[in-house]
Subunit: 337 residues, 4 copies
């Protein structure tokens, strides 16, 4: 059960609701987000909504049988809208584009990328300053100093930044210089990180785990939401299978399934999803046709010189052509809806 | 190495070519198809094409390093065209649609489906008369008598049929009543069946194995082609992964990869690929955007009463709407190319 | 429901049982094997055994809820014993060893292998004469002539042979020269082949599919059993996963699970299971500890010169050492039971 | 390249070695652990060991081509020994047993478990106080207070504890009350956590990722080792595959492969590996036969009342029987070596 509380609920009213739920064999967890106030009830017994729904202080009550409740579309039919100001929103019905290099390297690289994005009216730049690397001897990113430079330069051009956070202790120092916290595929079930991101008033882009199920992705989103942060986007980025012809297996099945299960936006990463430059475009277009709300991909002035992921990174001219095509495809998708 | 021979080559000329190849450490296999005459050379040494290429009787010679040679796009840049007469061709640049029930059930069902297809200008009807079933106690199809009825009724309306062949002994009796032999996912590596289909002058639709790699699919196609039959189409139908939210994981990555590796057409089966009726449409549209040359899917007048696969089968009205959308998407895809 | 019929049942008695089952909403399939006579009832309703169990002609009746019925341990608690004469039996409680090359190559190779087996008291020799190969240009085996030589030489030394059958048309010519028909991992769901093997009075070793589930393996066994052949052994040979450090992932979990679900013997193939010579021995010993009833593995006088699978094939000295260890481990396993 | 330095090396000597390595196109990373002092050289060029090996200050130099270097058996042939005092060591050649509940619940539960372990001479007790849970609404463990109670009670009986650490900020408060830090399957690639555990002077049990490769496990171990902590054990606990008959697929192939690649001990967790109580014992015995150095498993006085993982938890009597059998099997394994 999911109970939305009125903002002006009295303490004794809340206690009465909790007591009633307990009587119905439901344990309640109180959730206060930036946008709402909820009691999440977990239990298995069937109950009559009327037995509790008319208690004072309740705004609305929903029977939600999924194990994930707050991110479920069963109670919140309207899709989540994340507002970035300046008329920029991530939401169903708009095509969100996020592009940039795998790693932030230096000022010139950021400058060139911003020019490319501005010229093509792309409003989000992706780029990592803390890089998760399999080997401890690989380049691990420019760190916080790189982030500040990245943020300041983008801010000057109205570009929002998306960058990966890897651990709890990075959240506070990163927060002033970050527009969207990205949680990478290796951290999808780093529950402490999810808990802490629940306390932050900044949007989070949560990637599916390397071999994570769709349900696990939704559970992980529930961590952040129930921690207090409703500004969530999900990201399909390919799963690990036996096939070695592509880096990962981009699971586009996940898009229509997620779109039905949750009110959160679904962004697709075709760069990691297939991992081969010349195939990024068809997979991006396919993802939009499958219902994706946005595409995040890697582009670099000189992909062959990129510090990481060059083999799956588009040149600016490839990126420009793909942006034009993605918008055409999205327009048709809306027309067909 | 792949040597295309002239149709009027003399025996002694051929012997000279084989001897020269042997000298270069290449073992040759002679392949005669309905359309061409080849020597496929297998070996590892590098060689100078000029050392053999000017021998009499040779039409063309190609260095092809893939283990699959005849189906490789490296020697045959022009995509394969399969001609069914009456202006009907399966080829790159045309959207091929194949629709119908999982199983052929009775005359009324065929009749209704034909009406639906004719009304929507779909030229291929799919339907199984020999059904591979996990359990020996399940319905195994109407068999040869069903096939004859199916074929005759379709023929009367200019519809071509696509139906699964499961074993060598079925090929001869099925051949007069079959337009396209479908090889199912459980038979992709049934090498004797592939060998025998190489001897048939009828097109073959070869499905990817349940956990088959892209390379294994191409090898299996090589069996049929080297057996003598060039009229081949490949079919992506979803692979087996750990994810249980969908029946299979439709691997759309395979489309651009296959389109680069082979000159054969690539058809996608979203019905088996995701296995859930309401998501078949977005996956079909996505597949077209990823570059598929055609879509094969399940439709039935009353899906909930279908003898098999009802949960992934579209009603005729759903099918009609999807056909209209697929053509819109394909038109845009061509425009963007 | 599974009804064992008396051997001397009258036709009218059988009809009465079928009618009664039908009344209980069960469809029956009659199964006559070399060893028994059954009615397999498929249906979902609960029923009272007494309602049907006391009809004349019934030997015994079992409620078996698995989808596979005849191979289930729920009705046949005693494990299957396959008798090869000369005191040779495959059964729970005995360690069955099957060894030999991947492919039969020539007389000298067979001779050497037989000597090795006889010296170590191994009673089954494996060896392929029909080889399933991914590429059509690879060595496909010596065929029927090779089989005859193989069989005759082994027979002269009291060795039984295990060899792969790939298609229906091979069964009849192979039968006089084969002691155990092996069904390979690519043919586990070749249902026509399974049907035909049900009609043969020779034991069958059925391998698990390349990405086959345990349940699918049992279903496939049900095909053979319900076709009339009870002389069945199952074989775990590794499944396909994302891990590339080994050729396959030998799934030893399958052993205790299969041993509980079915009365059939479970043989393990560590050669294909891990695919790396030096690790075959620990996996064989582990399999025995997990409860395997036998081990089938590859050995060759000169593994590095073997026509196929050399990298996973043991030399005779390695084989000898492993045989000694396997018997030690099996003895301890029995002692601990 | 891996260079072991003398403990009394001079700064100018070290500088000379780094300069020489750089000349050979190798970048060096200095690693100081509790036990040694190393320069890890990463580069691709071949080099002559003599060109650098005789510089002053070098104890030994090894060519190690694996991407993981410090954990590789190619330079350190002798297996790692972790000494816990009181004659207790984890090492190759000894069977290490770690047993206990999934979650620490209360004092009585700890007391009962300790009695069981002491009676059976098991020296390590496992038990979680911080629990990673898919759903935010599940029981997340007793936390630090629970840990203190757990530690103190075990210490009084000479039992060492193994408990999971989930995030960097837990390390310092946990350290005084922890004998072995366990890194769970969801944190195998939580690189910041690995970095920090490199700075701790306490043994670490590193679990393989849910769909982690063997190489990724070794890379993650390299993080901890290169961070300064050599006291490492690896743990195989089952991987995610398409098979649903077991909770995970315990990959015993990994044991002989890991034992050849690394000098670290390999512990196996059959409880999570198969996830079904009655099959834990055969998998534990199989793991020992495959070469495992130890077994970690779940046991509880009343498994059916356990706070988590009850379905895969042994009762004390089952545990006792299994301990006895594991020691028998390990004795035979040593005899056969």
């Amino acid at each position: 059960m999911l109970i939305q509380l009125k903002q002006d609920i009295q303490l004794d009213q809340k206690a009465a609701i909790v007591a009633k739920a307990s009587e119905l064999k439901y344990k309640t967890t109180e959730v206060v987000t930036q946008a709402g106030h909820y009691l999440v009830g977990t239990g298995k017994a069937e109950f009559d909504v009327r037995a509790i729904g008319n208690l004072p202080g309740i705004k609305d009550i929903h029977i939600v049988s999924d194990e994930y409740r707050l991110v479920s579309r069963k109670w919140k039919v309207n899709p989540t809208v994340i507002d970035f100001g300046d008329g920029l929103q991530v939401k169903e019905g708009e095509l969100t584009l996020m592009a940039g290099p795998c790693s932030i390297e230096n000022e010139a690289q950021i400058e060139k990328t911003i020019q490319h994005l501005v010229a093509n009216n792309v409003r989000f730049m992706r780029g990592g300053v803390f890089k998760p690397r399999s080997s401890p001897y690989s380049f691990r990113g420019l760190g916080l100093e790189g982030l500040k430079m990245f943020y300041d330069m983008c801010r000057a051009h109205g570009i929002k930044i998306v960058t990966e956070v890897m651990q709890v202790s990075q959240i506070a120092p990163m927060e002033p210089y970050t527009d969207v916290f990205q949680v990478g595929a290796r951290n999808t079930q780093n529950f402490n990180l999810l808990d802490e991101l629940g306390k932050v008033d900044k949007p989070v882009l949560l990637k599916r785990g390397i071999s994570g199920t769709i349900d696990e992705l939704l559970y992980s989103a529930e961590y952040i939401f129930s921690g207090g942060n409703e500004k969530l986007m999900l990201c399909e980025r390919g799963i690990r299978t036996y096939e070695t012809a592509s880096r990962n297996t981009l699971d586009l099945n996940a898009i229509p399934i997620l779109k039905e299960k949750t009110h959160l936006s679904v962004i697709v990463d075709p760069s990691h999803g297939i991992g081969i430059r010349e195939y990024v475009e068809p997979m991006a277009l396919a993802a939009i046709m499958a219902g994706a709300d946005g595409i995040i991909y890697e582009t670099h002035e000189k992909p062959e010189e990129a510090a990481s992921d060059g083999a799956q990174t588009l040149s600016f001219s490839e990126s420009e052509r793909m942006i034009w095509k993605m918008r055409k495809v999205f327009a048709l998708k809306k027309e067909l809806a």
